[in-house]
């Protein structure tokens, strides 16, 4: 097990190298200049821009720039944001708590919806409950988040005026009031993302449970004289959970990556909106860092999913 883990981590190194190379090449090929603003400003002489470019080594060949970025990265220096003029790692750490809170709780909400509804619907397939759940699940994952997000803002912020539609990281209130304000502003983005994710997971949980519930060992469990709840929880859900856990684990990097669209709609100052604004501003060090961290997480959670498999399914052993 330990050796397996170590080997997988070692295999991850060349993959990450490849990923970083591709990312860097794509960004280098993309048009745009982080100091474009200076070019359009008549008060700034052209030499200033040229000097800045030279200072940051932007005119060097791509290969040299990549090696420079890579050596700095391995030393823990993630670069410097052209736009915000702070270190990239600081910038990411600033945005991280908000993202973790909003996206994390939305995934939690999705699980809390999907597990009970999916399992209950599967134990009574084609019943009224199942049909209603299916219908809502279809609606839920057919509506894109940018639509439901705007719809929510229209209803709850504009018409009813219950919830704020701009997310603020710096709420000045204190005590319980502070928590309440945070809760209120997080409610809509969490609901939009959670319902969307929950809808598709409900379908997934339902089909996973349906696959298991018709197997003989479930009937065996019933014939032993087990109560229906024990049968479902112990024999059905635990086996059905194997594919579900994989799906959820592979979704987890999204918590860090943030939901770009939703963060944009609700102005949530998370990683997703950081990525968008830095792409728009050609802020290459930030883009590079965010996407690279994202790839690391994808690899890490893949590994974690594999380890979880082994824990959930005794048929899998690691060598």
């Amino acid at each position: 097990m330990g050796r397996y883990f170590l080997r997988r981590l070692l295999i991850a190194i060349p993959s990450l190298l490849g990923i970083s190379l591709v990312l860097f090449a794509v960004l280098a090929l993309a048009p745009g200049d982080p100091f474009e603003e200076l070019a359009t400003n008549p008060n700034v002489p052209a030499e200033v821009r040229a000097n800045l470019r030279a200072q940051f080594g932007l005119d060097d060949p791509v290969a040299i720039r990549y090696v420079r970025w890579f050596t700095a990265m391995t030393k823990g220096d993630w670069g410097f944001s052209f736009v915000s003029r702070v270190d990239v790692d600081q910038l990411i750490l600033q945005r991280l708590p908000t993202t973790l809170l909003v996206i994390g709780s939305s995934q939690l909400l999705a699980l809390l919806i999907a597990l009970p509804i999916g399992v209950y619907a599967a134990t009574r397939p084609y019943s009224l409950f199942d049909q209603i759940a299916n219908t809502f699940a279809f609606i839920g994952f057919s509506l894109p988040t940018f639509f439901t997000g705007i719809l929510f803002i229209l209803i709850f912020s504009i018409t009813l005026d219950w919830l704020p539609f701009i997310y603020r990281a710096d709420i000045s209130a204190t005590g319980w009031h502070w928590y309440w304000e945070h809760f209120k502003q997080a409610l809509m983005p969490v609901a939009v993302l959670g319902l969307f994710q929950g809808a598709s997971w409900t379908r997934y949980v339902r089909s996973a449970v349906l696959d298991v519930i018709r197997l003989d060992y479930v009937t065996t469990a019933r014939s032993k004289g087990l109560g229906e709840i024990t049968v479902v929880v112990k024999h059905v859900v635990r086996n059905a959970l194997i594919p579900v856990v994989t799906l959820v684990a592979l979704q987890m990097p999204a918590i860090f990556g943030g939901a770009i669209v939703t963060e944009q709609i609700f102005r949530v100052p998370g990683i997703g909106s950081l990525l968008i604004s830095s792409i728009l501003a050609n802020d290459t060090p930030v883009i590079m860092a965010v996407t690279f961290v994202f790839s690391c997480l994808v690899i890490l959670f893949n590994l974690l999913a594999d380890v979880l498999y082994g824990w959930l399914d005794p048929r899998i052993s690691y060598r």
Binding site: D216, T219, T220, S223, G225, R238, N239, L312
Partner: protein, 323 residues
């Protein structure tokens, strides 16, 4: 006590076939269509018929693992079909089932010990951990497995061993009746014999009663005291094993027996080859279900369903012409 251990009366199971829109019931599959028989304590009743004739469904309905549409099942003087969930759980200490597919019938995430022992916990048959372990080990050894198999998982075993685990599991609660739902059909022939012998040994040792569902006629002949033959959800003939195999009374039984291979190429015999397929159980033929394929069918068979009637003591047949 007297009387049979299990009495099945007019058991019916219709599976609804639903239409796509608004899930209206559009039709029914008549899997079991009025089946009645008895099993005496200590005997083995074979239940044979081709695929889809409702044998497995009958077995499952008796244990109410499939809810019967109508009819009654009396076990040990109690009406199983009228029991509530609580009483049903209790009666499952006395009635157990062994499934056909030993690969699907064991939970892959539980150790063999947990699979066999779970019922002990449910029915509080072990007072402490030591007693529980002893019981599980004893059960495993009874079916020819070892004590150290307890901590292993089902996928580490072969088909025959898995079926032994399934048997140990069924034995855990010391049942009176075991429904064997094609317990050897999924196994190699050599292993089949071992499992059959094991089942016979266990029957002697624990005074078990079996309902043995199978489609392999030679296996059924070997193990059964009496045999029930089913066709398309109905019983066509009941007889003792010897009588059925020597002098079948129903034309379907005759055809079934003539289709079973005899392991001697020198033997020449008349084969009755049935024409056509088993009819659609959603729309069974009128009158006698067997008449479209029956070599002896007359007009009467198409209009009038033959009743099961006693043609000799302990012998029943559902054919107008059996005598």
């Amino acid at each position: 006590m007297g009387g049979p251990l299990l009495r099945v009366e007019n058991l019916v199971k219709h599976f609804p076939v639903k239409g796509a829109l608004f899930s209206r019931e559009v039709d029914q599959v008549r899997a079991v269509d009025g089946v009645s028989f008895c099993i005496d304590a200590g005997e083995t009743l074979g239940l044979v018929g081709e695929s889809g004739c409702g044998k497995s469904t009958t077995g499952r309905c008796i244990l109410r693992l499939t809810e019967p549409t109508s009819g009654e099942v009396w076990f040990d003087g109690r009406n199983v079909t009228a029991m509530d969930a609580q009483a049903l759980r209790l009666v499952r200490r006395d009635m157990q089932i062994i499934f056909q597919d030993p690969y699907a019938s064991l939970n892959p995430r539980m150790t063999v010990g947990a699979i066999v022992g779970e019922a002990l916990t449910i029915h509080k048959l072990a007072n402490n951990a030591q007693e529980y372990d002893d019981r599980v080990v004893h059960l495993l050894e009874t079916v020819g497995l070892h004590a150290d198999h307890m901590r292993r998982y089902p996928h580490e075993f072969s088909g025959g061993q898995r079926q032994r685990i399934g048997i140990a599991r069924a034995l855990a609660v010391s049942p009176k009746l075991i429904v064997c739902d094609e317990p050897v059909s999924a196994l190699d022939v050599s292993v089949q014999a071992q499992v059959i012998n094991l089942l016979e040994d266990l029957q002697q040792k624990f005074n078990l009663t079996y309902l043995f569902v199978a489609h392999d006629l030679s296996v059924v002949e070997h193990i059964s005291t009496r045999v029930v033959v089913m066709y398309l959800g109905r019983i066509v003939e009941i007889a003792t094993a010897r009588e059925l195999y020597t002098t079948p009374k129903h034309p379907y039984t005759e055809a079934l027996l003539s289709a079973a291979p005899i392991p001697d190429p020198q033997v020449k015999r008349k084969r009755i080859v049935l024409e056509g397929d088993v009819p659609n159980p959603m729309r069974p033929p009128s009158g006698c279900h067997f008449h479209p394929r029956c070599p002896r069918a007359t007009e009467r068979c198409a209009s009038e369903a033959p009743l099961l009637r006693e043609i000799a003591p302990g012998r029943v047949s559902a054919c107008h012409f059996s005598a």
